[in-house]
Subunit: 328 residues, 2 copies
Amino acid sequence: MQGDLLKPQHRCALRFNSGMTRLPSPEILISEVGPRDGLQSVKTTMPTADKLRWIDALAAAGLREIEVASFVPAQLLPQMADAAQVVQHALRHSGVRVMALVPNLRGAQAALQAGAQKLTLPVSASHAHSMANVRKTPEAMVEEVRAVLRLRDEIAPGVPVEVGMSTAFGCTLQGPVPEGDVLLLAAQLAQAGVDEIGLSDTTGMGNPAQVARLFKALFSEVGALTGAAHMHNTRGLGLANCLAAYEAGVRTFDSSLGGLGGCPYAPGASGNVVTEDLVFMFEAMGVSTGVDMNRLMAAREPLQAGLPGEPLYGMTPEAGLPKGWPGR
Amino acid sequence: MQGDLLKPQHRCALRFNSGMTRLPSPEILISEVGPRDGLQSVKTTMPTADKLRWIDALAAAGLREIEVASFVPAQLLPQMADAAQVVQHALRHSGVRVMALVPNLRGAQAALQAGAQKLTLPVSASHAHSMANVRKTPEAMVEEVRAVLRLRDEIAPGVPVEVGMSTAFGCTLQGPVPEGDVLLLAAQLAQAGVDEIGLSDTTGMGNPAQVARLFKALFSEVGALTGAAHMHNTRGLGLANCLAAYEAGVRTFDSSLGGLGGCPYAPGASGNVVTEDLVFMFEAMGVSTGVDMNRLMAAREPLQAGLPGEPLYGMTPEAGLPKGWPGR
């Protein structure tokens, strides 16, 4: 028991459940992006067998959504050459929704054929970043999204399609990104028929006030289509930004085990929010994630084994769980 | 200009001031604790001349409160043997309130004689931590505070006396610390006549929900006597906890340049909240601190020069200020 760390109502729920078998259903969804976002950012290619063992450990920790691969040409990203095989393996975990990133229609076709249960497409709010990242304008990417949605309707109508809007909080190429641009693009994507629209702080420029403001505006614009907060820890604000997003009503959070990936900047400055610290924060607050902290930290072992020497981040794994934490 | 990073009202203030010399007064106070909390936690003793140069750089960055020394027997903490000299030097900065930590009446007498402009006493909410730290019960420490207040009234009536309540969010020795114990102790301290009561997450066990709840309760208990949030970054939650405290109404935040000090735990796990990241977060949100980010980062140089080889932390210094930041 966490004692006074828990919100009173959650404490009651746990006490109530102590004589029952059913646990309260998780309040938020942690979407683990390490096997895709993390692995495609490191130079070394993790061997397929290690990837599968890592994904198994993530599933065992209770993660219910994992972005396992990116469907891009192998000559562009050799780290993702085994995408179809990884998706097929991950599908054996019935409690996990297997997500794949697809940059275009061709990738979507391959991902759906492999059996991906959710697709995510990156669409940049910054014109400059969009051209640099996918060599298409944001408008052309909305057209690509429409094509993916038509394909999905045809061959896999039950598969949700998410857009993660890159550079929503600022862009290193363009500088500030007007909030009106983000909301207009969101409206176009909603009109196109996507199932979820998330906002990504691709370059680590977001701050809690901005995160709260923009997600509230997104809720006003697209309502229940509002998706994940994908925050970076470039300047140390990752968790504070997730907290602000939570307070604004966001219930899905992207993060990466060991903070792997996502950092085009300084050495030592982790890019992605660290899953271990994120889960620790929410669980300590009494906001249930469905993830077991001890098993989550154990999932660092197969990650490290598959990428020997690669630096992993995370303050909670270094400090350990506090006295009184369940299972410590 | 930070463009869309600023709150509208703050943008107006800056625009208004562009033709004026007066800047808006800072909304929050960053209380820099590095020269005391940081330096007493590292084994190496920083030479006095380096301390003075570092404090000058901190003052030049716009910090308005600096905890410059601890008045304890030199045989216990040789790093603080020059406390009186350091206080006297710091007094030349008219914009800085020179604060000193004193564990007891004897330390208070020495600090007041040296000219300290504010005293801070540590009182533990956990009985076990109190015995380990100062070999007195919390009740005996309240008596010591009373004695310090009597002395202050006699010889330096204008000097505020703050209590930083240690282990307010949990204790590695005792485990959870009941919130009722914290509030009862706060009431006793208020009754004794202290000027400020802050709460310290000494062991890095706090979470944002708990921080918000306990500071709100403290406001209810002691009103305007509510003082600083002293958060640690042991499990990565330092900034999120400061954000939660800000939202609960706290306006003073302790932190340490380069995250120096405060970590009894894992190597690489910084203890104190990093001043650079904390100021970056608030300034990016449009919450003015009075601190100049560029000069603040420049103050790392004399710190590092005085402690060669000592690891400094901070994500913002590693990543640099974002595109569009003033003076970047």
